[in-house]
Symmetry: C2
């Protein structure tokens, strides 16, 4: 086992810090937010984050315990879907797809890629499934009707993730080059049928 298996001693809780500590913590978090989003999890090294924050690399680990923990505290695991999901249920499929096809969200692609990359680390993966269950699946379930509501909601989210993977990780030319309205209609309706099968034609 290479790293991080022992109990590493982290800084105390942020609410009992001295001003100096709080400032450098904030600087490190800010630098990490920028570099993780820009270069992905593997591409942003602890040393680069420390340099960006004007700080010794060891301090990064001292304060946050590990690179993985820093990533978890830093990166916004939510992708801003919350407001989309809360909208009218009958059109949520198309609206979800349209949201991610909107080219006016340039940072979104990089954020998703960073998350997908980091998903291969245990702590990050666990946080992601927790977050997905809590903020995507859970609010959907009580609004559904019929059988297997939780399973259908989870599968709908998985289907959406499949599109994001194709778009952002694979950068598939077929879908990227296709007419956005067509993709929204076809794939959005497919997601919609998982959520509200009775409303399908």
């Amino acid at each position: 086992m290479p790293y991080g298996c022992g109990v590493t001693k982290t800084s105390p809780a942020p609410d009992q810090l001295r001003p100096a500590g709080r400032a450098t913590r904030a600087a490190i978090e800010a630098a990490a937010r920028v570099l993780f989003a820009d270069r992905g999890f593997e591409g942003a090294s602890v040393r680069a984050i420390a340099a960006e924050a004007g700080v010794d690399p060891a301090l990064v680990i001292r304060h946050f315990g590990s690179k993985e923990a820093l990533f978890l505290r830093t990166v916004d695991t939510s992708l801003g879907i919350g407001s989309v999901i809360e909208g009218p249920l009958e059109t949520v499929g198309r609206r979800l797809v349209a949201y991610f096809l909107d080219p006016a969200l340039p940072g979104l692609r990089k954020r998703f890629v960073a998350l997908a990359q980091a998903a291969h680390h245990d702590q990050v993966r666990e946080e992601m499934v927790r977050h997905t269950a809590e903020t995507y699946v859970a609010p959907l379930v009580p609004r559904l009707t019929g059988e297997h509501r939780e399973l259908r909601a989870a599968l709908a989210v998985a289907q959406l993730a499949g599109l994001l993977n194709l778009l952002f990780v694979q950068e598939d030319p077929i879908v990227s080059g296709a007419d956005p309205e067509t993709v929204i209609a076809i794939y959005g309706d497919a997601i919609q049928r998982l959520l509200t099968p009775e409303s399908a034609a």
Copy 2:
């Protein structure tokens, strides 16, 4: 730029090798196949592969140019879906889902995870989209009817990838714990509707 950006000098084509070279190449490939499948792309180090093959780590790079190239030559990017896709089109959705839910394929999960991990490296990613387009999408397209045939086939594959990600990478407890027949019915039919929308109820 860290590695592999220059033109690295690789061994000559395998068909004009001396017997010794051919043997060690085979040993390295065999060791790589085992370790990549077992530990994933990042988890299997060049040094570990070399040790498993009883060979100097430098030889691995000498023969294959880079770890990424070794991965490409080694790992079977196909997941065995070919025969499933070639079956009757009217039931391909459920059969695809059923294929990946079959617990009798223990190596499949690890192979997929290794591929997903390595997908963040450029050469591997390009080979994957090429392979996907060639062996999954292409044979499907001519059998479809209606509009946007290529796009629908690509989206169906993306939807399937979404399930694999949920199952194998995220290891989501909801889907893993659900009744396989239910998942096959719900998600399989959803994929089927992308491919043959006119045959839906």
